[in-house]
Symmetry: D2
Subunit: 250 residues, 4 copies
């Protein structure tokens, strides 16, 4: 298997402004997510990018050489430049995988690719979340038990304003009485998208072994499939019009 | 709007063998479900059928004159004759709606139409179920609040061994820690199928106002669409082979 | 059945700049589409709107009082203001139906709601299109035969860069050797979207009886469902956060 | 990558009864399909099985050690024992991939897993089929051009009586004027199913390079995913009921 090139994108704002977040993630959430991926296997080549870098760290050249992008944002969705959103969307439609984490549900990138409100209900009460596997044969659930728990998380509740997932991997149960479709796959263009709910910045969620396993599985699932890079027509940009009758059987 | 002809099918076994069930449903569960539908509006013409009748009450003639069938069974799935299962499947593919209730998930009819195991986990502990609407614009959720509760129900848990629903209307939360896709739509042939989870025989679930509202909505949603009865080719039986080149443009 | 309020939106550019188009549609394509809808039944209240009107004829007040919007555009997609695109998207997610016609596949509104490139191949050669019904029980196919033909149309070919349709109603065959998914349904938020391929401006497609039947069926299918207008939470805008533990069962 | 164990199942009837078929496939169609797979790469371990063998060559032991099964049948669907159909269905739901070829659309196995009529129209006229890729990033389309052609094939036409495919890879155009969804993916239980249309017994279709490429790609796509074999609950058989309140958070 060839190497899979992954960028872990972090908004990197809360880490500087909230003491509680800095305590858990002194080097930024993105570096912890990246560390989890690195320890999952040698076939991943993992780097990071943040909002504060030029082009948010996502130049055309860099994206062109990326197989999977993970996205965490919350406080500064509005500061992400539309030009970069265009660029990410284009690459996903060309075949780059995209893993959207937690509050990334309201990112420009996710809303652009799904076309819906992506709204939900929420409550920050440090309550228990139990994440159920509803598709045990799915590669993103590989190595998990029937469910796993996070002792303290922010609650997200239905209705989740997204198109019906193409594959439903997880549904969450919350101590306070809500449910949420928390692990959802969509196919868009040549690309694969996975949304994974947990990951509030005030809890050490990205140190959790099961959460790391899910993200590592998802990155592998979302990688470009087959030989599309070399062989398939690019369906992101309109193909040339066919010659008049030139392809006709007559 | 023309009348919608509905058959409420009941296995009608527990009512005779379990004192607890007889107390709640002395005239049978099917008669209570039918009463709920009748009070929902004059445009429904509702009758009942049971396992014990000849042909289980589902003769060819009667099914041919039926728009929607509801199905509750549990103890005697194996006694339903395969010939009747064939007949029901054929009618659904022709366009008859089918509403499968609670333990009907293991009925021959449901398993035949979905093709999967339809398995789930369960626990009978009279616990609280909270049913969340995750598709508030769907006609089956019309008139409901964001969720409704049943104080005592049997628990059903994921993984639910069914194909991905074509539309997801409800997801249930259980006091004991499980979740379940509890209101699911599938399109099969010309017909529409809705599975609705609640309805254990030892609880008065089919007297609940919200449960009755859902079943009444579902029956209207599942009715044959448009003018298919008169105008469309029957895709249940193989169409005739086309004439050799007879339909050709050459 | 209450009245269904429909706006037929037309870009209205080719009619003024191309003699060939003006000959077929001297009063504009939108007026011919509207006339077809009006003759389909009294329960439709049909009006038109064009690019050239203030707000492109789509003020907030008017959209709020609209059940279904049809959209034809081609030469001037770029002139549609983003503010109006936002408004249309919001209304679809609230429950307004949207029928996108022919070259509207590249409209901002359609691309916004689907999130993909919406690209395809094309050829303008006045060739024969044969439109096959692949879902004969679907209400949008009501009253049609197994297929219908248009003697002269522009060709659109696969790959069509859209998410998998939630329901597939038509697939087109072209004389020159291509195929195309030409009648596709998607559910987005509370709203229903239908894309219908035929309708090139240099052919009298919108006078065709079968084409008119499809659009009339589609408008009825796409109308808001059930009682969502009064009863359901609005999933377009984020709901209020739930009270901390206020909804808890504990 | 570990080896993928494949059984190519052949009905093996026409080859003995039709001179025209014997001429093309003197050793049976299954042996030609198997040869195509073997030449596609060393990671496949390919064997064959036929209707005439005990248990149709599909003992419990052998199926338990199989990753992907391909199925071609036509004249003798009715002779396949229901017990073997049960067995194949169970293994697919456990995670074995299934590739159904051409007239296998009416096999008991396919109809059991999809639950619909699987009907279609047909015409045997040796006409041209052009197979379009409508999902160029899909691994089953890897290495293909935008379309490929078969000079002489039986025609299959819409409506194809199947549930909406979870992924649409190919749509066919026929010289005589029909279209057909000819490369369709479904997820069922832990297993993946692919239907591929071409392959009439009187044409040398399984010697065609593109057809061989598609089947080889499909076998790889359909193989069991991730580590389900060892780690996931079996959703084919009902899980044990959960302990009463034993898993509760209370």
């Amino acid at each position: 298997m060839s190497k899979l090139r992954v960028i872990v994108w972090g908004e990197n704002v809360h880490e500087g402004t909230h003491e509680a977040v800095r305590k858990i993630y002194p080097d930024g959430m993105h570096n912890v997510i990246a560390a989890g991926l690195r320890e999952s296997g040698d076939e991943l080549v993992v780097s990071t990018a943040t909002l504060q870098e030029p082009d948010h760290g996502l130049s055309e050249e860099r994206l062109a050489a990326t197989d999977v992008l993970t996205w965490w944002g919350h406080a500064a969705h509005g500061e992400v430049k539309d030009e970069i959103v265009d660029r990410v969307q284009k690459r996903v439609l060309e075949g780059m995988g995209l893993i959207v984490l937690h509050s990334g549900h309201y990112s420009k990138v996710f809303k652009r690719l799904l076309g819906t409100s992506c709204s939900l209900t929420w409550r920050e009460a440090g309550e228990k979340e139990r994440i159920w596997v509803c598709n045990p044969g799915h590669p993103i659930a590989a190595g998990l038990d029937r469910y796993f728990e996070l002792a303290n998380e922010e609650m997200y509740g239905e209705p989740f304003g997204v198109p019906s997932p193409d594959e439903q991997v997880f549904i969450s149960w919350f101590e306070g009485g809500e449910v949420f479709r928390s692990g959802n796959c969509w196919f868009r263009g040549n690309g694969r998208i996975f949304y994974f709910r947990p990951g509030h910045e005030t809890y050490p969620t990205y140190f959790d072994g099961n959460v790391r396993k899910v993200i590592a599985n998802a990155v592998r699932w979302a990688g470009p499939q087959g030989t599309w890079v070399d062989s398939c027509p690019n369906i992101q940009n309109p193909p040339e019009p066919l010659d008049v009758k030139g392809e006709s059987v007559h």
